[in-house]
């Protein structure tokens, strides 16, 4: 039976987990050799993407996106990471910042499959809904 990309990613994670940095390179080379032997190098990108997911999952790392109208300063980024950690129960946050003038102000946070919309645009939409009801 043919292994899936997720199974390769899990195998790679188990191989690398807990290894000292000196042995990591050797293990990766060996893994690439196995992929080449099984003609799976074509799926290398997918396996790496899966590995990153597995790595984040196992180490409590969450990727998040913060959208603001005028950018975030360092203090706010720090507060934001702390806020998302408290919300998601993660150990570490990889924050991806985006600027979107259309949200007018405030911030929109997206992590995992959740969205915390603290934008002025959202407040205005809520106001519009209340006025219509």
């Amino acid at each position: 039976m043919k292994n899936t990309t997720k199974q390769y990613a899990l195998a790679l994670y188990e191989t690398l987990d807990g290894k000292p940095s000196g042995q990591v390179k050797t293990a990766i080379k060996k893994f690439v050799g196995i992929l080449a032997g099984k003609n799976m190098l074509i799926k290398a990108d997918e396996i790496v993407a899966e590995f990153v997911k597995v790595w984040h999952e196992k180490n409590g790392i969450i990727e998040a996106e913060a959208v603001s109208a005028s950018g975030l300063d360092k203090a706010n980024v720090k507060l934001l990471k702390k806020y998302i950690i408290s919300l998601a129960g993660a150990k570490e946050i990889l924050l991806n910042e985006k600027i979107d003038k259309n949200i007018l102000g405030g911030v929109v946070i997206r992590y995992s499959d959740k969205v915390v919309d603290g934008s002025l645009r959202n407040s205005l939409e809520e106001l519009r809904d209340k006025l219509i009801k």
């Binding site: 005028s70 300063d73 702390k82 102000g105 405030g106 519009r128």
Partner: protein
């Protein structure tokens, strides 16, 4: 007696002959005329009596027929009246039913129209509300666009996540 015979010049033999003649004529007439005539008369009388009797019977039958006809007519009239009354009652019931149905249909139509009017009213109201909301949001957007600068935005973000 002799004087009488002499007075009237009655000849005894002639008289006897005449009597015999008369008897013969009578007998001939009796056998040839009177008896058949009597028979014919009797038959005729019988026929007339029978005819009269038949006429009486016919009359009686006619009377009975008339009575039966009258009875039948009375019965027919009764039945006709009953049918007419029934027809009138049924027509009245049908009329009442039609009126009730018409009222019901009118009620349904009125309710439908009321509902339609209410729906139209609600739709119009919703449209007005939507337009007002759009105007308010547009005005707010404009005001916020002018009033929220970078500093205020950062303060706002800080408040949201703190």
């Amino acid at each position: 007696m002799d004087s009488l015979i002499e007075t009237f010049h009655i000849d005894g033999r002639l008289l006897i002959a005449q009597i015999v003649n008369f008897a013969i004529v009578f007998a001939v007439l009796y056998w040839l005329v009177f008896k058949p005539l009597a028979k014919v008369m009797a038959e005729r009388t019988s026929k007339i009596a029978k005819g009269l009797d038949d006429a009486k019977k016919v009359e009686a039958k006619l009377v009975r027929t008339q009575e039966e006809f009258n009875k039948t007519m009375v019965e027919a009239k009764k039945q006709a009246n009953a049918i007419l009354e029934k027809a009138v009652v049924e027509a009245d019931a049908r009329k009442q039913e039609m009126i009730a149905r018409a009222k019901e249909e009118i009620g349904v139509i009125i309710n439908q129209e009321k509902q339609k009017m209410q729906a139209d009213k609600a739709a119009t109201l919703k449209e007005i509300k939507r337009e007002v909301a759009d105007l308010v949001v547009m005005a707010m957007e404009k005001v916020l666009g002018e009033k929220v600068d970078e500093k205020r935005d950062k303060e706002m973000i800080k408040k949201i996540i703190s």
